[in-house]
Symmetry: none
Subunit: 204 residues, 4 copies
């Protein structure tokens, strides 16, 4: 059978395996980060958990920080981009979006905390996050403007500021929730917070 494989097949197999190894490392990292935090988790521990050799880690990530940046992808919010295509008032759509996003972090307070921890300790990750924020703001801006024109939200604040406030509300809630001791569901908290926020940006 092996000899039946064309080079392409073999390449695909190899590609596949690589993808799996990379995934295993990332999963292991996520698991350990949520147990021990970012700084406390060593590369060796990650590889051990992933079942690969220490050196293998560096075949996939140039450094521990590099892995963190990769993991920051969790914060990516492609859904924001999709908002543009959908019709109707903005606020309920945002509500829905927030609801969707929350699912990623729910039940993962320690991991969320670890990610912020890493972000604060790693310049590269912080920069990455800021770039992400800039992109998101840009995507949200026209929608906010339109919502203002529609009289859906207050007009006495610049749209950029409103967008900024939206993201601050989201991430601020996320990090503060992650820092707290209890086990209140993120969804509850986020819902509550955005309830206030939406009331705050309502017209009049």
């Amino acid at each position: 059978m092996t000899e039946r494989l064309t080079t392409e097949d073999a390449d695909m197999n190899r590609e596949l395996k690589k993808e799996q190894t990379r995934a295993r490392i990332k999963e292991a990292a996520l698991a350990l980060f949520s147990e021990q935090g970012y700084e406390t988790t060593t590369v060796e521990a990650i590889t051990k958990q992933a079942g690969v050799a220490k050196g293998t880690f560096f075949n996939y990530f140039s450094s521990k920080d590099d892995l963190l940046c990769d993991l920051q992808g969790i914060f990516a919010m492609n859904e924001v981009g999709k908002l543009k295509g959908t019709p109707g008032p903005l606020v309920p759509r945002l509500q829905l979006l927030v609801f969707e996003l929350v699912k990623r972090f729910e039940m993962n307070k320690p991991l969320t905390r670890a990610l912020f921890q890493g972000m604060l300790a790693t310049d590269a990750a912080l920069e990455l996050h800021n770039r992400l924020l800039a992109d998101l703001s840009e995507a949200l801006l026209p929608l906010v403007l339109q919502a203002q024109e529609n009289g859906e939200i207050r007009k006495d604040m610049p749209p950029a500021m409103l967008a900024q406030q939206a993201f601050q509300t989201y991430f601020g809630t996320l990090v503060i929730w992650a820092m707290e001791a209890g086990d209140e569901p993120l969804a509850t908290r986020m819902t509550m917070t955005f309830e206030l926020f939406f009331k705050g940006i309502a017209p009049q």
Copy 2:
């Protein structure tokens, strides 16, 4: 000469000197944290900056983490306790309070970031912070309740939740602001955010 001093005088002198040394170490730490972050700043660097020997550090703080906890005192908000004594509507007094608090961090984005960084990396500091939060909530709670009764703020949310939201808004804004790249003044941002918040918790 030294022996001319009464024991009490000597004790006071000694006490004073100790206090000064402790203060010098803390100042040095704050300065370096805001330059390099928490993890990156070494105890040796702190003592050097403070002009004392490395060993002296451990005469004043049992560990580097202990120093951090001590520094977290910056987040303490005794002013919240004082609110109780003052009369009149709550919201404007809160506005004033926030305004006061902001001054501590203004112009110190890197330090703010470093403190959160340390807090996220150090369990003891995080617990301390949570205890602080609990105390603050407890202090604010009766005021919120009264404000609800006065019809100053909405009654359809439990007062504990409103208090929680207030602190989340405050700390969330602080940390998100600290994480951002630009140099927008904290006061502006905080004012804006609380503008929305107060509108969000208004009755009706």
Copy 3:
């Protein structure tokens, strides 16, 4: 098409390709050694530069040190062997020989340094070099003897010692020149040095 080739042709083709690959690896190594030195240059970097896979390297050289030994061939001085066949006085022929040899290293101070670096760090390479030196001495010895008999060079020193001094002068100049910071041409330096040397071994 491939199958049209006779076995011999195919073999030749294969041989040729192998030779080319080997050459490409050696060239790549020389280029990188002269840029970064021996220790600093990794096998991976060499293969990348050569356009082959990392594993391929070990199909051609049993180790990185083995490659270095192979490269030491640069120091080989077959020309010394050819001296035997030519007539006339020894000194001018040596002068010419040195002049020829110098061309290999001229403009390649960093590579020369890297080769010595590798030689000093690698026992195998050092031994190889010593064996080379022994062979060269053996080849030069009869010529020196004859030159002494001809009265061309001083007789009060054993010919073996004179030969040794000649090689020491050559390699010593080479390494010291390579270690220097400036960009004086090797030819100038070598000429000067041998001028003194030839005067030193002149009769009387």
Copy 4:
């Protein structure tokens, strides 16, 4: 007794101990370098041999390379500076000087080799050596000039070049001798080499 010590005494004691530890580390390094070469000797091995903890090494030397630079002091030739004060013809004084210098390396071929190895592998050490050479040349230059004027050595070569040749002869002999397998004494070789060199730079 301890309490009799003044602070100064205590400081001196401490200073003394420090000096001893530093010396122990350097001795250990020299011993190991001469056994195993520079690259092969690890910092851990050095500290083990010196009987101190691994971390202690870095209290004295900022890096392994730093230690090497410190060790390069062996090549320093303060004696060259003293030549200036002594009267009489230059050549015999140089002969004597070389004889003195040789003693340091005699019987230490492996160490000599290791030092050159480290020098070739470490940019900082190489630069240091070049600076040393420049200083030495400067010190020798006026003596050479005077010797030329005295008719002691040939005038048809610039004095700077002659000085350069002298040092090249010295260091070239040193390194080539160190690279050789046998156990010929350095003194013999050096004497022989300088015999030729002095004849080479004689007038006429």
